[in-house]
Amino acid sequence: MKKFGFSSIKPRVIDYDRNNRAVMEYIMENEPSFALCIGCGGCAATCSAAQFTDMSLRKLNILIKRGENDEVRRLMNKCMLCGKCTLVCPRGVNTRNVIFLTQQAFRKLDNYAV
């Protein structure tokens, strides 16, 4: 084949109709407070992991909801499960448990190929 020196790029756009939201459904079922997030970023501001990495809990919450699983996988493991996020949330979202459940959901997904 001819050498072109470039190739087509995978779109970065969130394709909502194509994404798999099994992880979100799992969390909604087990931690219903997840629905209450208003994206204020309080969790992200206090997050210990965010001090040293590109972790953003606010963004992670949204990415889980949209089914952006590759990015969720990358970010979720940066969490140290310290729980400060849960203390500050003005809507009472148990963010620590959301992350915990996300990790659990992916383990389940990987093991049982849900």
């Binding site: 756009v13 109709d17 629905a35 963004k59 949204i62 949209r66």
Partner: protein, 350 residues
């Protein structure tokens, strides 16, 4: 017989503001001519099915407004349009499509608002794509008892676009129409209640839940009804080969563009000063603010007064307002009109 009976006030517009002020002024003994261009009083409240935040039936409020004007001192002219108002000394000559009403001592502009014409946001394809509708048209669907798409089926997914015609320099409107956010939340809940299998997404820039129980309603929408919220202004809608609508937006909290198909797209159209009100304003030299609404004399303590002595404002001709604030504003105008007319009496005595 009290002095007031001689005093004649012409109120332009029999919506929430006009009816409220007319009722109160009549109770205080003034003679009222209430002029309405439509064939019934009630204004835009008529369009609505249920009202936020408590989702009471709009008919209840409508009944209140109509009861207010059930007073022998109020003479209502329906299907009547004001053509001009001319001030001669301290009195106003009002010309309508039904002739000349003379000698008003004060004018109350309760001319209300026009709904933003969504065709002007061409990128949303209103009037082109079959399943792009307005918030008002959705209320009509609620009235009919069910929400169906143009194909006659229940939508699997509904998108609600906030700020259509508001906060948008492209259509010349810098202002926030205030009520659309909470209307969107209310309508999202109503859809979820009517069609539990339908997903609902609200696309917003800011959730402006300013009124009592609004934030609570927002929370209820998330907690109880599973309404989804995406922070981003919808950039465009288009139709795919199956006739579904493709919405493009940035999910700003994720920092990524997002595309999504919906079966029904509801545009939360904003408020603009009514064209008919602005026409009358020309003959009275009323000042118009940069937001297109009438300029009030003072934003803090003179928001019923105009730059023209004897001409007062009530309701959404001065700014976007909900029904509660419109009624309060109309009641306040009664105080201002009374004070003005009394000051005139004094001068006569002197």
């Amino acid at each position: 017989m009290p002095e007031q009976y001689d005093r004649h006030i012409i109120i332009v517009g029999a919506g929430a503001a006009g009816c409220t002020a007319a009722g109160q002024l009549a109770r205080e003994g003034y003679r009222i001519s209430l002029i309405e261009k439509e064939n019934e009083p009630g204004g835009k409240v008529i369009n609505w099915y249920q009202l936020f935040p408590d989702r009471r039936k709009s008919e209840e409020v409508l009944k209140y407004l109509r009861d207010e004007i059930d007073n022998p001192l109020i003479n209502i002219s329906l299907n009547t349009t004001v053509e001009s108002i001319v001030k001669e000394d301290d009195r106003f000559i009002v010309t309508t499509t039904r002739g000349v009403l003379t000698a008003a001592d004060a004018i109350l502009m309760a001319t209300g608002f026009d709904l933003f014409k969504p065709e002007r946001k061409e990128e949303y394809g209103y009037g082109i794509y079959d399943d792009v509708i307005t918030s008002v048209e959705l209320e009509e669907k609620f009235h009919s008892g069910t929400v169906l798409t143009s194909k006659g089926v229940a939508p699997e997914r509904v998108g609600i676009v906030h700020c259509v015609g508001s906060r948008d320099e492209k259509v010349g409107n810098f202002h926030c129409s205030k009520v659309c956010c909470v209307t969107a939340v209310k309508q999202a809940i109503e859809i979820r209640e009517m069609l539990p299998g339908t997903e609902v997404f609200c696309f917003y820039m800011d959730m402006r839940m300013f009124g009592p129980y609004y934030e609570e309603l927002y929370r209820e929408a998330q907690e109880k009804w599973g309404v989804n919220f995406i922070r981003g202004k919808v950039s465009e809608a288009s139709e795919n080969i199956e006739g579904r609508l493709l919405v493009k937006v940035e999910d700003t909290l994720a920092g990524k563009p997002l595309k999504m198909q919906v079966d029904l797209l509801v545009l939360m159209i904003g408020m603009e000063n009514s064209l008919s009100g602005k026409k009358i304003a020309g003959s009275l030299d009323l000042e118009i603010g940069i937001n297109g609404f009438f300029s009030v004399l003072d934003n803090h303590y003179g928001n019923n007064q105009s730059n023209q002595a004897g001409v007062f404002f009530a309701g959404t001709c001065t700014a976007a307002m909900n029904i509660t604030d419109t009624i309060s504003h109309a009641r306040a105008s009664v105080v201002e009109i009374g004070r003005y007319l009394k000051s005139k009496e004094k001068r006569v005595v002197l």
